[in-house]
Amino acid sequence: MNVRVQTEAFDFGLEANNFATAQTDMGAIVTFLGIVRNLEETNLSYMDIEHYPGMTEKAIYKITDEAANRWSLGDILVIHRYGRLSTDDLIMMVATASKHRKDAFEAAEFLMDYLKSRAPFWKKEATDQSQDWVVSKVEDESALKKWQ
């Protein structure tokens, strides 16, 4: 299990390849990649991601441990950036390796659902008009229910 919380950019393809190559008997790899997008009709200038140094990695490891307990996994990778990001920058990625595709898929989706609302990150979006903290979504909280 490998958890990295960093300001530096990462190369998704390189990380995905390194992760897959490091496996010896896992035939199913699932990855998730999150990218900064200008989704609303506002004009996103940049995004600042704040986190809780000290707690962040601990909280993520708690989530990866839980995933490793619930599914048969060979490996897990989580990379999450903080600091200032621009449109098209990669925010974070998750990778899971399993012998079975169902385990790899479910574990990756579980990790994302929990990272979204249980790891101490906060996003603030700046447009040419204003700077606003991203408000957590009801769907993100209810997404956790399916794992309980």
Binding site: L115, S117, F121
Partner: protein, 82 residues
């Protein structure tokens, strides 16, 4: 003596990232009550506990959590990572 940390808009509203607090409060809720009395910024930040989350010694807990032995309490809005 407890280190109290603030993140995201809680930090902005209170205007501090961290402070050390002398408290006899037995629970997080007790601490919140004390902090709220420190002035308008605090009162405003803690006016709606439903929109706040709390971690005691870097573990997510509820507002009725005990502060016994706690060294660090952090207040922040619901997380928006991922």
């Amino acid at each position: 003596m407890i280190d109290v940390l603030y993140f995201a808009w809680v930090r902005e509203r209170i205007g501090k990232t961290k402070e050390t607090v002398e408290t006899e409060a037995e629970t997080v809720a007790g601490l919140v009550k004390e902090l709220s009395e420190r002035g308008q910024r605090y009162a405003l930040a803690f006016s709606d506990l439903g929109s706040l989350r709390v971690a005691v010694d870097q573990e997510l807990l509820d507002f009725d959590a005990s502060l016994k032995g706690a060294r660090e309490v952090a207040f922040f809005p619901p997380m928006t990572g991922g």
